[in-house]
Symmetry: C3
Subunit: 342 residues, 3 copies
């Protein structure tokens, strides 16, 4: 597809500076963009590429102060750019509604309108599948589970029994929802298992990446709130409650019975211990380990984690030890001189 | 289901204090419990809820000193509570024995009595499946593997060739057993693969969570001892030997050829380097990195890990640097005064 | 199989010292080897076992200075040993070419010569599968993807649409290739998804362990270079480019848009932040967190990571704090005495 800058500007409600008839043939990141391509500038780290990019035009913020031959000014350049992607790179067409004959669907299942159920999909008894749900091949849905309308389940997903997925969910391959919580007690003769008889409840508009594990609760449900987005390899233990519109980046985990507020951002490879309360709006830096309750809107860092100011000061302190040693050596020398001078 | 306190007390060998005719309709955690519900007190962190819980009765330890209208005293309140779960929350009925016609089972497979083999399960040649084994849909068992009696394999599990799973095992979805150990040598022309021709041996009564990977050995078997319980996302590299009745919490990994003793507890997000010996009864705190052999019953903490006393003292030391700087500043000031006074 | 030392020496181009007629019945690690077995010595940590091993012969380096009844001297003992494994432990015979009738292969798929397509494998429209490819049961290949000749795909692998796998690749179970990159923008009404319409490109001779996730790019491809070997649980985010002949050990992740050079070695449980450049030949120690660009051939360590010398000095500095406190106490005491002496 090709568009003029003027057309593109209309799609995203922007203002052109330069030649509105410039032809745009594709999108690209600023460091890779070629003649005819449109790029964007959002992360200031990339401003250095303005001088060298071969792009024909750049999407920039309204207050952008630099110069370039063709600009489109918008409120949020990254968001605007993302809105253009489907115009230039049409997504794969989803499969037509229908049930592949190799799927195994219990006769008690209530199946919505215009669903696609792929090859070898298994849906056990007493499940409810909403309208327009897509279940790609080789996925499994256990007894008495529900999937809300318009949800898209990629291949090889395992949803255990008594789990409830909301509408418009998107669940990637390899993810497991409803596996047993990790609950055991040591006894005199070995180890006894705590039955895990709660379920899992995933809100509307949730996206779950590849190879995640969301364990079922012991008595109640493990809960992922509306609009929350999980990256790959996320571990959610039993009885955890994650709030709405949270981010969790790859390889992070939350231990049992912890509650995470709304609008929380958890970076990659983070661990949060069990039985904690994490306030709304908290941000946790990558590789941190949270061991205590965290109040709202605090930025946490380190393992064990502290608020970011304390943690960064501690790193600076550690790095000042050579200076400390130097000062002590000088003190020792001076004191020795003083003593001798007596 | 509903029971009186007196009935419940009999189920778990407890002693009622209060009204034995109190009707109990469900179980709940202490902070969520409502009228008619029974709860328990085990973690002291939760004692604060005694004053506010709406529960009708609490399971407490024999030496519990607090007050509540109805109590049942038992040896281990958490364990007793767990024993009651199936009375109030009956588990999903397992599928009836039988072989789904869509399963692909090689004719050489020896299948025990009253197994359930779900849709699309694949069992390759020369496998032996014990009595009462349940293999839910879409799982795979490679050539010459064995699964012991009463084992329960959830959907989408991959068991490679020449792996041996004991009796009463429970293996959750997404788990891979017998993938190649990570063994390569750099050569002049690139990288050469070390063939991985050992197998995997999983003892009786082992539970393995979702999305774990247990690699096959190079020459001998990778071994998980009897009764050990693995959480989700556990990485066990080639030639590792984990002992009996160990715990490994989520996202922990053990590198190649390390031996872990019996009754070891490994918390979440731990890494243990290769070629080490970890003694019986060792406890490793979350996010630790073990780089050296560890003697029996030591508690390890930190990355690189040290015994817990040393590691915690080190954290305290680091946090005392501001005080150290203050003292140095005072020394410098005093010394300057002294010098000038001369 | 049994061979004489003389025969074995010929297989690996070595030089026998001792009795060339010694019969070798199997291979073993030095600490486990029994009479009749051949072992090797590569890691110096294991030299202590020379005194006690029951092995009949040892593969050693050309300059080995110790003594043992029978030796074979070779250039690289570990590599030579690995070359012998198939002689003593014949690998499982791969399945004969053929298409299992339960596979679902779109009629538009171009299938090479002598492929094996296992039970319940799904290959969507417009895919190209090279000659001699093996796809074991329950794997999935999305629309318009390609798999190069001789590649071996284990069960329960998910390859999304528009992904390209090179020749001689080996991909283990549970791995997901082409899942959406984790790209979202917070908006006034919630969170908006950035479409992820690039693909994934895996070079020739790449091995990918179990339960890995390699996300598709936003506009361009996420790339894994020729000959690179990934262990289990590897997270490769969108737009990442990993070079050729790299190692990545288990549970490591690379965040979006980072470029990793050639011949890089990343140990286990490492995190590398997004938008970074990691030079050729870099080595990253286990559990490190890389937050800045790294020049070629640097060894990095710690979280946040520094070059290994700085990082190790910092650990030593931290461990010297008790000594620092002692010296300050002495200074304070001496100064007090001096003051009083005035």
């Amino acid at each position: 597809m090709t568009f003029t800058l003027a057309q593109i500007s209309q799609f995203i409600n922007g203002v052109v500076e330069g030649n509105p008839d410039t032809i745009i043939t594709d999108l690209a990141e600023i460091q890779h963009a070629e003649d005819g391509e449109l790029t964007f500038l959002s992360n200031p780290k990339y401003s250095k590429y303005i001088a060298t990019t071969h792009a024909s035009a750049i999407l920039v913020a309204k207050d952008f102060g630099g110069e370039f031959k063709n600009l489109i000014r918008v409120t949020d350049p990254y968001f605007a750019f993302s809105q253009l992607i489907p115009r230039f790179r049409p997504p794969i067409v989803p499969p037509n509604p229908g049930i592949n004959p190799s799927a195994t669907i219990d006769e008690s299942v209530v199946l919505g309108k215009e669903c696609y159920i792929g090859p070898n999909v298994i849906i056990e008894s007493d499940c409810t599948i909403g309208d327009h749900v897509i279940l790609l091949g080789n996925s499994y849905v256990g007894q008495k589970s529900e999937i809300g309308e318009n949800s898209f389940i990629f291949p090889n997903v395992s949803i255990y029994h008594r789990c409830k997925i909301g509408a418009n969910a998107r669940i990637h391959s390899g993810t497991v929802i409803g596996s047993d919580g990790y609950g055991f007690v040591r006894t005199e003769t070995g180890i006894s298992k705590i039955p895990q008889e709660g379920g899992v409840e995933i809100g509307d508009d949730v996206e779950i990446g590849a190879n995640c594990s969301i364990d079922r609760g012991t008595l109640r449900n493990t809960v992922i709130g509306k609009g929350t987005k999980l990256d790959n390899f996320i571990q959610i233990a039993h009885n955890v409650k994650v709030g709405e519109y949270c981010f969790m980046a790859a390889m992070s985990g939350i231990a049992g019975s912890t509650r995470v507020g709304n609008y929380v951002t958890i970076a990659a490879q983070v661990g949060i211990a069990g039985h904690l309360n994490i306030g709304d709006g908290v941000i946790v830096a990558a590789q941190s380990g949270i061991t205590k309750d965290v109040g709202p809107n605090v930025i946490m860092f380190g393992s064990p984690a502290q608020d970011q100011h304390t943690a960064r000061r501690e790193i600076a302190n550690t790095r000042s030890i050579p200076d400390i040693k130097e000062r002590i050596k000088n003190l020792e020398k001076d004191l020795e001189l003083l003593k001798r001078g007596k």
